[in-house]
Symmetry: C2
Subunit: 404 residues, 2 copies
């Protein structure tokens, strides 16, 4: 199993496209993405648990209720959420897409990201559809990845190749992250394509299980978006025997999926709004998954800890504080804490109390742009990893005046 190029076009039979149609005023930024499979594909998706859901969430849910899809249409610049006519507009996006690429409108996954609460004008989408379709290409993942970005600064696409029953399969994904990211059950916008053959049921099972340890363990700012969605299409063109049950093939498929989602998660966390660094919280020695997960997420979500990471300050008291209020049942007097980066590791706390350490070495370690905070609860053998970023001036700047 290895990483390859190609993003959502790495797998056989997937074309992608991305253009500027005019939803965003900035003409240099693509704002409309399309992914089309040559064949109708198994489809699965998971969604935000926010009670306030974007209109596209409802429409996509209905469209893939039969476990099938053939295209993804996604705009940035407007979330199509909290509008009087959101559902109508989302359905219209599906219709326009279906007509343009000659598929069934019920086989379209639709998503939107951007400002909440402003009507989404269908006109630029309708007028841009011809250009969007002519731009489709089997090597055009990058344009689609760019078109779904909002305040993201880095384009996010990854792909892997793997082998199932002697057949080479491929899988790739693109993601949009940045702000309002604290997934719960589902996540930001992620589209994954694969040519492996797998039933809709097993595809959903793989995706749901993966998300608990990947997307649901990221937090940029503690805000669960209204429009989070991770959607996967598997068109079977690799011609492996269709995966319809657990077993070796399913495990390989899940491993491939995990390779993609881990890369996307790290990329999303590192490119969080205003972030200067990726911060990963590794919890070991948990008595169970719930405990390890709760501790990891509480630390990664703490504003005070995140601000300390921005300042490269080994303020481990804030780590213990965040563990303490997490609600996890832990024995504080057993906890060890250290920080790791490319520059090395510094142990800062043992058995719940501070140990002497060199502030200079700690500073040198924390000035790196990828930091791990390692927590050992010394109470079992379960681990969890949560990912996030630091809290910076730029986060405040970006979000203090996002709409104007």
């Amino acid at each position: 199993m290895e990483y390859i190029n190609g993003g959502v076009c790495a797998a056989k039979g997937f074309k992608a496209s991305g253009i500027h149609c005019g939803i965003r005023k900035n003409r240099t930024k693509r704002d409309l993405a399309l992914i089309v499979s040559d064949k109708k594909a198994s489809a699965a998706a998971i969604y935000t648990l926010n009670l306030v859901k974007g209109a596209p969430i409802y429409v996509t849910k209905a469209n893939i209720a039969d476990g099938k899809a053939q295209a993804v249409i996604c705009n940035s610049g407007n979330a199509n959420t909290c509008n009087a006519n959101g559902i109508e507009i989302a359905e219209k996006m599906c219709e326009l897409t279906a007509d343009a690429v000659s598929i069934d409108k019920n086989d379209v996954i639709v998503a939107s990201t951007g400002v909440i609460g402003q009507p989404l004008d269908i006109t630029p989408i309708a007028e841009g559809m011809n250009e969007l379709v002519s731009n489709l290409g089997y090597d055009n993942s990058g344009n689609a990845a760019e078109a779904i970005m909002t305040t993201d600064t880095i384009l996010k696409e990854f792909a892997v190749s793997f082998n199932i029953g002697g057949k080479e399969c491929r899988m790739g994904g693109i993601a949009k992250g940045s702000g309002m990211i604290h997934p719960n059950m589902a996540t930001m916008l992620v589209f994954i394509t694969t040519d492996a053959a797998i039933s809709p049921e097993m595809l959903h099972k793989a995706l749901y299980a993966d998300a608990q340890k990947s997307f649901n363990m990221i937090s940029i700012d503690g805000d669960t978006s209204t429009n989070d969605m991770v959607a996967v299409m598997a068109n079977g063109m690799a011609e492996n025997a269709e995966i319809v049950a657990e077993g070796e093939d399913f495990d390989i498929f899940c491993n491939a999926l995990a390779m993609i989602t881990e890369k996307l998660c790290k990329a999303i966390a590192k490119d969080g709004e205003g972030a200067t660094k990726l911060v990963e919280c590794f919890v070991d020695g948990g008595k169970d998954w719930q405990t390890a997960k709760t501790v990891a997420k509480s630390v990664i979500c703490s504003s005070l800890f995140k601000a300390a990471m921005f300042g490269a300050d080994a303020n481990w008291g804030r780590v213990l504080c965040a563990i303490g209020y997490s609600g996890a049942d832990v024995d504080v007097t057993k906890i060890d804490v250290s920080f790791t980066s490319a520059k090395g590791t510094v142990v800062v706390c043992e058995n719940g109390a501070g140990v002497e350490f060199s502030e200079e070495i700690a500073k040198e370690i924390l000035l790196e742009d990828e930091i791990k905070v390692n927590i050992n609860l010394n109470d079992g053998d379960t681990s969890a990893v949560a990912r996030g970023c630091d809290l910076t001036y730029d986060y405040v700047k970006i979000n203090g005046d996002y709409r104007t």
Copy 2:
């Protein structure tokens, strides 16, 4: 019932003091506070729910287990938390205080605030005790209020006078707020004194009930501190008939307490770390307290909403988003949202969807330093208020390098 001057010295028989003893390097900042009652008083306190608790929490709990106290000793600059010898030091602080003012060491409430995880040296406290005691005065609340401040920029003290059964009573409080503030059950450091006569049981009952609607509804940054404490001493010197049960006198006492705690809460929220404004979230039309409270706290805690308030941006989509992920069971299509300040009110959302409004007027309203976001759930008649502040560059700056 009316506001008066005097802070914790407003009530009869309470002396206070605050000095710089040397825990903090900055010689211009007082770091040790003392409050002493002429008579042994009924005492009650509530504490942080953080599993990681400062050593003073344990010692205070033990000391007031009998419902009695006569003094408060509190230092700033070091939280005396996550240390090997924290309990010993906290007990020593009680002993030194008791010896110096000739009371029982088990009648001392001890509290600490500051950096977590560094040993607290008893030497400056021991050496400063004489000066601290000579500084005691019946009009010296301000010195004590200053000595408990950390990154607070505004001294917080309030007092009221009220009448129980023909006797004039007084009550006053001081508070330390600023960062790591997201109380849960208990809160930041608050010391309240009163000369009303009330049993320890009824005092605890009044305090606990009040905190649910006052201190537990504040959030500066979502971080529940390890050292939160609200302690009240009631010395009975107003000579009213002791309050030993619910009834008219108890209601008057609770009203007086609410007058003090509301003022302290607003002051703490407005003076949150880096804050430029007080933000209050008024939720009406809730079907029950849990729902109204959950919605109000979720909005006040949202980093995205708080950054929008800093930018005076009427980004109500973030309000709906935070309601949606709060976990409260609400009907999104019934929700109305408006913003209010001294400059007026602007309605931005009705029935869960945006309404047209003037961005200029909204900006003018949101540029004020006290903002109310009004949410009507239109689903019942329960209300809740949560208080917080905006998220600013200075919050990041203060917390990016707090220890150095």
